[in-house]
C-alpha cells in the first residue's frame, strides 16, 4: 500500500508575524519558512506505518512556489520515498488544493491520504475534509491515534473531540488529518539528508492535472490584533474598586 502525505510550506511558527503596511497580507520576505507542524506529524505517522511493514511507500506532496522543493527535501530527509511538487505561483485556497490532491490521488492511487488538520498560516482546517468529499472517501479528522488493520483493509482512528475521544473505523482508502498529540516527529539526520539528495521530486503544473486554479474567496484586509494597553498599578483596594466601578464598569 502506498501512503500519500500533503505537506505545506508556511512561515515558521516561532517567527513573529508582521502584517504588510498595505494590509494585503503578512510579510513573507526574508522570513524563515518551515514545514507546517501538523504536516510534520502527518508525515511522521506515514513513516511509522511504513516502518511497521503496513505500507510500501510514502509519497510527499507539496504545492506552491519553487521553494516548496526545500520543504519536500525536508520531508525526504525525514524518510519519505519520493516527492511531488505542484508548481503554482498564485494563492492556493483549500478547495483548489483539494482538487489538486484528488487529481494526484487518481495518478498515484494511494491507500491512505494523510494531511495535517490545518496549516498554521491560514488556520483553514478544510482541505482534508474537502478532498475526502471530492474523492468520496471516509475521513478521520483530528486523529490522535491511528491503527491500521491490513487484513481487514481498515484503519481505526481516535479523534479528539469536545468532551473526550471518538473512535472511528474507516475502510481503506481513507483520508486522515492529524492532531498534535498523535506523535512526535523525528529529526532529519545527516545520513538521511544525504540519502534524500538522490530521491526524486516530480513536478506537475495545475494544467497537467487538469485543475483550474480559481479563487472563490477574496482577502479584503489583513490587520494586526489591537495592542494590549499597558496595565496600571493601583495603590489601594479602594482605588481598585473605584476603577472597576467607574472605569471598567464591571462591578
Amino acid at each position: 500500500m502506498k501512503i500519500m502525505v500533503a505537506i505545506k510550506r508556511v512561515i515558521d511558527y516561532a517567527v513573529k508575524i508582521r502584517v504588510k503596511p498595505d494590509k494585503s497580507g503578512v510579510e513573507t520576505k526574508n522570513v524563515k519558512m518551515s514545514m507546517n507542524p501538523f504536516c510534520e506529524i502527518a508525515l511522521e505517522e506515514a513513516l511509522r506505518i511504513k516502518e511497521s511493514g503496513m505500507a510500501s511507500e510514502v509519497v510527499a506532496v507539496s504545492m506552491g512556489p519553487t521553494q516548496c522543493v526545500d520543504t519536500l527535501r525536508t520531508g525526504l530527509a525525514m524518510g519519505a520515498d519520493r516527492g511531488i511538487h505542484v508548481e503554482a505561483t498564485g494563492a492556493l485556497l483549500p478547495l483548489s488544493v483539494a482538487r489538486l490532491l484528488r487529481a494526484l490521488v487518481e495518478v498515484e492511487e494511494p491507500g491512505l491520504l494523510i494531511l495535517g488538520k490545518q496549516a498554521i498560516d491560514d488556520d483553514c482546517n478544510q482541505t482534508g475534509q474537502m478532498v475526502a468529499g471530492l474523492l468520496n472517501w471516509p475521513q478521520g479528522t483530528f486523529a490522535s491515534k491511528v491503527v491500521l488493520d491490513k487484513e481487514k483493509q481498515a484503519v481505526t482512528v481516535d479523534r479528539e473531540v469536545d468532551g473526550g475521544l471518538e473512535t472511528l473505523c474507516l475502510d481503506l482508502p481513507a483520508v486522515i488529518t492529524t492532531d498534535l498529540r498523535l506523535n512526535q516527529p523525528r529529526y532529519a539526520t545527516l545520513p538521511n539528508i544525504m540519502k534524500a539528495k538522490s530521491k526524486v521530486i516530480k513536478k506537475f503544473s495545475p494544467q497537467d492535472l487538469n485543475v483550474e486554479i480559481k479563487s472563490d474567496l477574496e482577502v479584503v484586509q489583513v490587520t494586526e490584533p489591537p495592542k494590549r494597553k499597558a496595565g496600571v498599578i493601583v495603590s489601594s483596594v479602594d482605588e481598585l474598586i473605584d476603577k472597576l466601578k467607574n472605569e471598567a464598569n464591571v462591578i
Partner: protein, 565 residues
Amino acid sequence: MQNWGRTRRFLIYPAVNFLNNRRSNPIAANPVFNSAFGLANHRDSPLYSESEKSNLHTCFHSLRDKVVETGIRSAIRFQHRGFGSDATKIQRNPLFSTLNSEDISYFKGVLGEKNVIQDEERLLTANTDWMHKYRGSSKLLLQPRSTEEVSQILKYCNSRSLAVVPQGGNTGLVGGSVPVFDEVVINVSLMNNIISFDKVSGILVCEAGCILENLITFLDTQGYIMPLDLGAKGSSQIGGNVSTNAGGLRLVRYGSLHGNVLGLEVVLANGDVLDMLGTLRKDNTGYDLKHLFIGSEGSLGIVTKVSILTPPKLSAVNVAFLACKDYFSCQKLLVEAKWKLGEILSAFEFLDNLAMDLVLNHLEGVRNPLPPSLHSFYVLIETTGSDEAYSKEKLEAFLLHAMGAGLITDGALAQDINQASSFWLIREGLPEALMKAGAVYKYDLSLPIENMYNLVEEMRIRLGESATVVAYGHLGDGNLHLNISTPQYEDKILAQIEPYVYEWTSKHRGSISAEHGLGLMKANEIFYSKPTNVVHLMGSIKKALDPKGILNPYKVLPHSLSSSS
C-alpha cells in the same frame, strides 16, 4: 534572535500545547510556561522562576537541616565554604564606617524616600546571589535614577568611608554582586532608558540598568541584535554585563565586549563622573581607559551609561547537532568549520556524553536528536547568514564532507526554529540539569583547546567513583565549563579538586576564570592566572581610582593585597 529566545522557553514541555495557542500569548495563559521561562531561558547562569527559586531554597534548607541533625563537623565546615560564603574567613575592613541615621536621611534627601530601601525582604534578595551560595548582611539598598544621583551617593559614601556594592541583575556566579558584610547595595535598575540608536552605524547608547533582553527586543524592531547573548538575559543588565565582561554564545562570532563597547560613562569612588561615552569606532587619543572598567567587576567605578556597537540581525540561522567519536575529532571539526563555514559560523559548542546523559535524565522534555548510540562527544554548530538558501547549502555541504571524512559519526540538522531551539536546549539546559542532579562544583576555565579535555580525564581518574565529572563549553572560544557533580557537598571532594584544578590550569597557561569573573569566590586565586607584579599593578590602579577601597571590597583582587594597603 529574540524569537529564538522566546521559543526556547516552551521547549521544556512538549510543543503541542504551544502549537494550539500559536501567536496568542501562551505565557500569560499557561502557568506551566511561566515556570518554564526561567528554566529554558538560560545558558550558563540560569535564572530561576519563583517556583524554582523556592525549590532552591528548599534544597538549601533541607541540606542545612540535615547538617544540624547529624551534627557532622566536617559538614558544618563545608557550610562555610559552600553556602556561608567566604565571609567567615575574611575580616570586615575595620576602616569602613557603619551606617547611621544621618546617612539614611542624607540618602533620602538625594534619592527620595522611595528609593532608599530598608525593607527586609527586598534586602534579602539584594543580599543573596542566585545560586544561594553567597549571602551578605547589607541593611541598605539604594536605587539612583541618574548619573548625578550615583555621583552624589558615591561622593558621600567615600567621604564617610562607607563600602558599597554595585549591583545589576545579580546573576553572577562568583559572588561578585552581593555584599560580603554590610556594604551598601547600589542598584542601577531604575536607570533603564535607551538614550539613542543610530540605524546607520548600529550604535546603541543606553543607561546601565537596561535589561539585556529588553535591549534585544528593542534592537529587534530596528533590525539589529546585541553582540552578546546569555542565559541570564531576562534579568542581567548591560551595566553588569560590561562590568563583568560577560561572554556568552555569540563571542565566537562577534568577539568580547572589549571590542564591542565603544564608550562608557563611569562614576568613580569619589563621585567624579568620567565621560568616555564615545560613539566612535576609531579613537586613538591617549590611554583607552574604558577598558579598565570592562571586566573589573565594579571595583574601580560604577558604569552608568554604555555605548555599544550592535550587529545587524541576519535572518538565515541554522543549527546542527552532531556526534563525534573522540575529542580530537571535535577539534578537527572546529578547524574545518572555521575554514569551510567561515563568515557564517556563529556558535561552536560542545558537551561530552556524561553531560548529555545528565540533561536527558534530569530535564523534562529533552530528547536526544540522534538515534541512540554510544557517542563520546556532541557538538552544536550554529550558522548565521543573510541568505537562507546559501547558508543551508554551505552548512549541508560542510556537514556531509565532515561525515565523509569521519569527523562526525552522526548528526541532525534542524529543519525549523523549534528544532533548532530544542538542540540549543540540550546545551543550555546543562546548568539546570546539574543543579537537579545534586551538589555541583563549577569551574569556568580558559585552556588551550588541544589540552582542554585532558583535565577532564585527569579529574575523572582523580575522583574515581565519588563524583561525576561533566564537561561542556564554548569550544570555539577555548572555554571549558568543568562541572563536578556529587550527591552532596563534601570537604574531602573539594580537597581533591582544589587547588588541583587551578594548578593544572596555571601549568597550561590557562585562565581560572574565562567569563564568570573572580568575584569573591576566586579573588585569592588570581595568582594562578596572573604574575605577582601584574597583580600588584592592578592593586596600584585600584588604589589610584579608589583610595579608600569602598567599591566592591573583598572581591577581584586578593585579600592580602587589599588588607596590606
